[in-house]
Point group: C2
């Protein structure tokens, strides 16, 4: 058996018929390689294959230290051709991400992508010849698992002489492979990026796969999977399956954008399927195209493997599984992905947090649905974030990250770092004194870490054993990841699920107390996940505020964090230093240290701090 050498590329994306994984057939590629892995190869469910041929491609060069290999895993209908090898090559399915100077930089990394076991694009699958019978496997091809798929990839990596992968990267079914790798081969993966995936399918996603398989298997031309010597295969069933897939790959918003303008003007596709509506002719087109390039038995085989995949039904089970991993993780979900909904990624992240693994996460805002990880729309975010994972930690200057912020965020949380000079000159003293409360070599969580400027200071001046940030703005997450920090996407007003009690020596909330609603919840969570909490905030009872209020009869205002109109302020809470002291007493919190500052004069305040200080910094422990 040889590779069928099928190649595909993207349709033109501006075409409403375009789809992220629509393909067309083309000739054999000179860059496709094949290796025969000798058997017997034992499969997880008890079956055995005499040998497996693996079709794969590589880009870039393996370093002498063999430490720059990146394995990319493809989705259900993908193949080994992830990117062009040269300008004249057929387009790859992830040219956006993979190439010289791109997020997965083939000038720097040795990139590998193989067609999966059970596929139909060069690697052994149901349409391969079974050497025992001399006939195609067909219905006789065994039930395989994601574990089997990854085991074959591991043998390929061994064959290539690579002991440990710098990274494994994948989306959707590829993301499942990227999840399995660090669990099954913890010593062989240093970084893992999982995009638009999950630890198991939802019941809804399962239902789609079940109907798709029913359409194939109950097609009279399926012949129990032995249709290869028949005049035709289960083409109607496979096309229906593919149409269903296309519904799940797009968000409702994306379908509206794609088809509403031409709702009743379908394209004149040559098809026996219905083409009354624009969306109908699109489905007919893609259903038919798929039949030309994909094998129905492979679709049944791979969707079964996906449906049986299960790293854990809940966070405790998932935690037990992921605990075996030793790599650094990056997880990305997309807000409008309803096939692999963001809460599934959140479960993965919570499970990794529970075991103290290094993990970053972003729920990337997108209207593209599941396909987002293959599309240019959000490449700025997911591309940069994968790139940051692949980079080693870097000691960047503290204000290098270019961050675009909406006005609200910019005002709510000044992005100035200690190194900058600006109108808030006191910030320097504020940060310095906060740092002074944090022991050298301790672990620190920064709530609302922004672009990582405080994390940067901590790293440089406190030699922390562990640093992590929580942030709710994807642009800021990107900036902090670019600095090499682990940042988890989250709303600090929500419970810090996943983070176990006393996981950090210190939890920091810097100049944010006044802009959150759930004061009690936030402080309580800080003292749950941290042994100590450091809180700084502007003092509402600072003398100029009182003077202004009494004299003017207007909502208090002063320069700095309280320098807003009453109707535009990002602040929602207006505590004085005294208020916060009472709050601590009333809630069983012991104030271990308290520093009051006048940042306008750049000095500490001792006398009547509630009147004379504009900033309070508190070191708290649970009483």
């Amino acid at each position: 058996m040889t590779s069928r050498g099928l190649r595909y590329n993207y349709d033109n994306m501006s075409d409403p018929f375009a789809s992220s994984d629509s393909v067309r057939l083309s000739g054999q590629s000179v860059n496709t390689k094949q290796v025969r892995l000798s058997g017997p190869i034992n499969l997880e469910k008890g079956d055995c294959l005499p040998f497996v041929d693996v079709c794969y491609e590589t880009w870039g060069a393996l370093s002498q230290e063999q430490d720059n290999a990146v394995l990319i895993c493809h989705a259900v209908s993908g193949d080994s051709h992830v990117a062009k090898h040269q300008h004249t090559d057929q387009p790859g399915w992830w040219d956006l991400m993979v190439g010289p100077g791109k997020s997965i930089d083939t000038g720097r990394f040795f990139v590998i992508c193989s067609n999966v076991l059970g596929g139909c694009r060069g690697t052994t699958g149901p349409n391969s010849i079974n050497p025992v019978t001399g006939l195609r496997y067909g219905a006789g091809f065994p039930l395989i698992t994601l574990g089997d798929i990854v085991d074959i990839q591991k043998r390929l990596i061994d064959f290539l002489g690579i002991r440990s992968l710098h990274a494994v990267v994948g989306g959707s079914l590829g993301g499942m492979q990227a999840l399995v790798w660090p669990v099954r081969y913890p010593e062989s993966v240093r970084n893992a990026a999982v995009l638009a995936s999950g630890p198991r399918l939802t019941s809804q996603a399962l239902a789609f796969d079940v109907i798709a398989r029913n359409a194939i298997v109950r097609d009279p031309q399926f012949h129990q999977g032995n249709y290869y010597d028949k005049p035709a295969g289960p083409e109607v069933g496979l096309a229906l399956a593919r149409m269903l897939g296309h519904i799940t790959y797009l968000s409702r918003e994306a379908m509206t954008a794609k088809f509403e303008a031409t709702r009743l003007s379908p394209r004149d596709v040559d098809t026996e399927f219905e083409k009354r509506f624009s969306v109908g002719s699109y489905l007919a087109y893609h259903g038919q195209k798929f039949v030309e390039r994909f094998d129905a038995n492979s679709y049944v085989t791979l969707t079964r493997a996906m449906d049986l995949f299960d790293l854990g039904a809940d966070v405790p089970a998932l935690t037990a599984t992921l605990n075996q991993s030793k790599c650094r993780w990056f997880i990305a979900s997309f807000t409008s992905d309803w096939l692999f909904p963001p809460e599934q990624s959140r479960h993965i992240v919570d499970s990794l947090l529970r075991t103290g693994k290094q993990v970053s996460y972003c729920n990337i805002p997108s209207e593209c649905g599941h396909d987002a990880f293959l599309l240019p729309d959000e490449l700025d975010l997911y591309g940069d974030m994968v790139k940051s994972l692949l980079n080693e930690y870097q000691d960047l200057p503290s204000v290098t990250a270019h961050v675009t912020l909406d006005e609200k965020n910019a005002t709510a949380k000044p992005l100035t770092s200690a190194a900058s000079t600006n109108i808030f000159q006191g910030q320097r003293l504020d940060y310095d004194l906060m740092l002074g409360l944090i022991d050298h070599g301790s672990s620190v969580l920064d709530l609302g870490c922004g672009n990582g400027s405080l994390l940067d200071l901590l790293k440089r001046e406190r030699m922390p054993s562990r640093l992590m940030g929580l942030e709710n703005n994807p642009e800021l997450i990107r900036a902090a990841l670019a600095r090499g920090f682990d940042v988890v996407h989250g709303d600090l007003e929500q419970p810090l699920t996943g983070i176990l009690d006393h996981s950090f020596d210190f939890v920091v909330l810097s100049q944010t107390l006044q802009s959150i609603s759930e004061t009690r919840g936030v402080v309580s969570e800080m003292l749950r996940v941290g042994k100590r909490a450091v809180v700084s905030f502007p003092n509402f009872a600072y003398r100029p505020m009182r003077d202004y209020f009494v004299r003017e009869g207007r909502a208090p205002k002063a320069s700095g964090a309280y320098g807003y109109e009453w109707y535009t302020s990002p602040n929602k809470r207006f505590p004085s230093i005294l208020d916060f002291e009472s709050f601590c007493i009333d809630h069983g919190i012991r104030i271990e240290k308290q520093i009051c500052l006048n940042t306008e004069r750049d000095q500490r305040v001792v006398d009547d701090a509630n009147l004379n200080a504009d900033v309070g910094i508190f070191l708290l422990v649970r009483a």
Copy 2:
């Protein structure tokens, strides 16, 4: 041709296999009636039927004035048996809603439900005998529209001697019929309730229907629709179509709840469809059951009618259509309904608002998905709301509605009405003075109307020409609807889409200014949709607040609306009377009248109001 007399009922709802419209066959019902409407009957797309038989059922008695008839319209796979006729009868598909003393009270209303044109449950459809050929219509059955379906219902109503319906009520495809009725026969409908429906399908919903039809029509046993004399029909295709339907009827959350516990323990259904997973055996079961009771040609006919249904692609087009209606409307969507997403209902509501129609709307919180309107989970809300629509306006005592509120809402917006006595004794004076600013006979919109207590006062004391409320809490909407008011579900911080400029003489914002973030947006919208705005709020600079702040150095507090701890207050903005005056000047707003009150002393304040008043009431116009 006679009615096939098929009856169905709900499965046991605690059974994970239960589904809102799963059915079983049973014998002919004595309560099914049939009438032959003589032809030729001209259809909208140009075809013609020689006559149409209509199968229908009725409950209750028609009043002598013939003014109590309620038509219920069924969904795609439903039929005329909406409810039991007597205890021993087969269950109906909406027994929850229809019966003696229920929301649609058969003790009070004459309830009618007929099987739709094109159906297969007693009314003429593709499986009926074509009198011209003596054979079943099959593929020869014409393309029909929702308009045709409603026209046949109108002829039935005429036959029953009813000139005007008290109400038409329907969900899903039934909701589309309820939308068409008041447009096509404006003089014949006084009230319309549209649940879980929309003005046209989304592209995503269209895609599901297209795939379902492809599964049927490409089934080799379909024989171009002429399968009635064949040994078997397109049973696989129809079952696949039904499976797809079931995915869209449930939310992802509902599927998880139904199947996750038994994910890998499917029920042993006797089926040739896949049953590896729990959800798979459920789909197989319902797919097969459907084939026993439904005709594939009817499924194709009715889904085509649904797919072609289009009251308008956008709000302007929809407005032009709905402008023809003269009834009072109630629209309900369900938050997790992704087949008819809430934004579609919102478009209907916006269109009705633009034409000044009487409309109420609620986006009912539910995890049940599209099926929610058939299930008991949210019956408390949608049942009561439909009941309120069917009731005439009632002069209820002002504090009768029983309202359950979460603590936050209870504190954020006191529900006390003028008639109650409580610790806020000043409320009486506050309301009285606000009322004094509103002219007799004018139209008034109350933003954040709560349970309608201010609307109630306005109605009794101001003889308004029109009253409407906006409210964001479904429980409060229910309470206000029970009082007979028109209330639209909405967040007052969002633009008041749908309401045209200067549609109301007065827009009221009572004691809410301090708890909203988007101050400028809200006031600006008030002065857009209203000729005048009335705003009342607690004065932050009231003397005790200033004293407390200066003396104590703590966030200001006083009894009443500012009587909260800084960390639990529902308030987000803290304007003084002076602040609000400046705000008006800065934003081109003229203060036409201004009343300052001390509600503790129950008196108006003239001297230094910003210090001595605890409440300000402003009458505003755009300068």
